[in-house]
């Protein structure tokens, strides 16, 4: 799909930039793990992972340039149902000890 757009400008610069960002993100997540951020260590680690995953999806998997919304819809639907699975399951575990 991006074959036509690549004829005008090379996407290589962008690919390498994303690659550097991903490596930097890996370094950052390792560094952040050694800091004591009290309750936020997990949030920071998952936040960095999500940014990295988003970069891969948007630029390496070309979701950003996808010519139609359908690809985006599939991604969003999968994530939505994943959150349903995790969220509703945790609704049980998180409230078991109430009362």
């Amino acid at each position: 799909m991006s074959a036509h757009s690549s004829a005008t400008s090379s996407p290589l610069k962008g690919y390498f930039a994303v690659w550097i960002a991903l490596l930097a993100g890996t370094g950052l997540t390792v560094y952040a793990a050694t800091l004591d951020l009290a309750p936020y260590n997990a949030a920071v680690a998952l936040g960095i992972a999500t940014i990295k995953a988003t970069l891969v999806a948007l630029f390496f998997m070309h979701v950003w340039h996808a010519s139609e919304k359908l690809t985006k819809l599939v991604v969003i639907a999968a994530l939505f149902f994943l959150l349903l699975l995790l969220g509703l399951t945790m609704s049980d575990y998180a409230t078991r000890l109430w009362s």
Binding site: L85, T89, Y93, T95
Partner: protein, 551 residues
């Protein structure tokens, strides 16, 4: 279009059945219509195996004492009945047979998007089926089809891993079918076939595919965990090692509750087609029926923990799940109301497919309403694990799904085989199935409400339950006859039935605008759609033009 096709020679036309002969032309086919027939044969085989187990179960319950089989054997009987019927009959039934046959035809495509993957999915089904048969013949499983841990992981010595792998493989067959449908419906529609012109059968299959795609992988990985736990003693679901058995139930029901909608949604699609055709009316509230299919698919994923109300989940979570369970009733009710509204002032024809559709309406409504009882936390606690639950899900999965399947088989049989089935026998069979079904399962509601637990092979401490059990067993034999009849006359009609015209019901829909049986690539010329779905007013108009497709 060349001149040659203008000469009508219906008997000698080349079609998908007579194009090639020989075993390999079937076993290596990528034609969706032939694959549909392969599925038809395979699921019928498993249906009768599952039915055989059901018959033994009913015979055992004829008398209060456990006299026909041993307790262990009985456990295996209901387990294998459930596994075979759910994973090897109901889940593939309408999608893999009628869906496979009709989805490309209805949207005007030459085939599914991935014909080789379609064939692969049949082979996966067969591999899973052979594993399941082997598992049955070498001892079977006794956990119930639900595999509850830690009984399945730490205690029983039956063939859990093998049955699990069989279901895992069959699950991938189901995923690939769903994947094929989704891509086909998005990418292969004929020119002019917009989303709001799609037959509602297609919408129902689209919704079904969503569930197959998003639910099945979760049960697959759950089975992997169970197998790993048994083989490697991991303890993920083992309370002795810090695991939580309820986690198994969460993961299992995340798939297995929506799986009920994999069974019922395609049936709803079939019934929609039949009701429109035999009322000679446009379906009432097209968009409501279409989007209620999608709504059922999504809401179906929000309610799974109502299977676990007494298992020890948090009360607060149970309240939420109870409330959400009511929500699924909304889109289902929307469908029933729209079907009823379609019937209103329709010109109703009581042909066999319509009789099955009526049967579906009644039985599904009873099944759905008793489902509301079960959504209510209080009643659920009272009737959990009783025959009330057994009756409820049989009303949905047999009364609903199988009625729809049989109705669809009758409706499209002329298209599939090119022959007409004997109408009189078919109406009789529809009646027998309806009576037999109610006689089998209605007493079970009463039994359950009175407190008869499910999965007991011996109820000699409560002999007052025998009368209703005898009724149920009698009904099961009637039902068995009702199911055998269509198989007999369908086979008979393949040889002796009258040749069917292209459109024997004068029905709307692209599948009726090609030959019966259709040619290998479905349409002689790519159809262009310029009309809305269910244009029965135009079809029945006194001076209606010939169908506006170039032939």
């Amino acid at each position: 279009m060349s001149m040659a096709t203008a000469i009508p020679q219906p008997a000698e036309r080349e079609n998908y059945l007579n194009k090639e002969y020989g075993v390999w032309s079937w076993l290596l086919t990528t034609d969706h219509k032939r694959i549909a027939l392969l599925y038809l044969i395979s699921i019928t085989f498993f249906f009768f195996i599952g039915g055989f187990f059901a018959l033994l179960i009913r015979l055992e319950l004829l008398t209060p004492a456990g006299d026909l089989v041993q307790a262990d054997t009985y456990n295996k009987l209901f387990t294998m009945h459930g596994m075979v019927m759910i994973f090897f009959f109901l889940i593939p039934s309408i999608p893999a047979v009628l869906g496979n046959f009709l989805v490309p035809l209805m949207i005007g495509a030459k085939d599914l998007a991935f014909p080789r993957i379609n064939l692969l999915s049949w082979y996966l089904y067969i591999i899973g089926g052979v594993m399941m048969l082997h598992c049955m013949l070498t001892g079977g499983v006794d956990t119930g089809w639900t595999f509850y841990a830690p009984f399945s992981t730490s205690f029983t010595n039956t063939k859990i891993v093998e049955a699990g792998l069989a279901i895992f493989v069959a699950g991938f067959s189901s995923i690939l079918t769903g994947l094929n449908f989704v891509v086909t419906i998005h990418r292969m529609r004929a020119p002019g076939m917009t989303w709001s012109r799609l037959p509602l059968f297609i919408w129902a299959h689209y919704a079904t595919s969503i569930i197959q795609l998003l639910g099945t992988p979760v049960v697959a990985v759950t089975i992997v965990l169970v197998a790993a736990e048994r083989a490697l003693h991991l303890g993920i679901f083992d309370p002795k090692l810090g695991g939580d058995p309820l986690l198994f139930q969460h993961l299992f029901w995340f798939y297995s509750h929506p799986a009920v909608y994999i069974m019922i949604l395609p049936s709803m699609g079939v019934v929609t087609e039949i009701i429109a055709c035999f009322s000679r009316k446009r379906i009432f509230g097209y968009h409501f029926v279409a989007f209620s299919s999608i709504a059922i698919a999504v809401f179906g994923f929000l309610v799974w923990a109502h299977h676990m109300f007494v298992a020890g989940i948090s009360v607060y979570s149970a309240l939420v799940f109870s409330f959400l369970s009511y929500a699924v009733a909304l889109p289902s009710a929307i469908k029933v109301f729209n079907w009823t509204a379609t019937l209103y002032k329709g010109s109703i024809h009581y042909d066999a497919p319509m009789l099955y559709a009526f049967g579906f309406l009644g039985l599904f409504t009873i099944g759905g309403l008793t489902g509301l009882f079960l959504s209510a936390l209080g009643i659920n606690v009272h009737v959990t694990d009783t025959y009330f639950v057994v009756a409820h899900f049989h009303y949905i999965m047999v009364g609903g799904a199988v009625m729809g399947y049989l109705g669809g088989m009758h409706f499209w049989w002329p298209k599939i085989s090119g022959r007409l089935y004997p109408e009189g026998w078919a109406r009789l069979a529809a009646l027998i199935v309806f009576i037999g079904f109610n006689l089998t399962f209605f007493p079970q509601f009463v039994l359950g409400y009175m407190g008869m637990p499910r999965r007991y092979y011996d109820y000699s401490h409560m002999p007052e339950f025998q009368v209703l059990n005898v009724l149920s067993t009698a009904g099961a034999t009637v039902l068995g006859v009702g199911y055998l009849l269509p198989m007999v006359y369908f086979l008979w009609s393949m040889r002796y039935g009258k040749p069917a015209s292209d459109n024997p019901w004068n029905a709307a829909g692209l599948e009726w605008k090609t030959a019966s049986p259709p040619p290998t690539f479905n349409f002689d010329e790519e159809p262009v759609v310029t009309w809305e779905a269910y244009n029965y007013e135009e079809l029945d108009a006194p001076h209606s033009e010939e169908v506006p497709v170039a032939r």
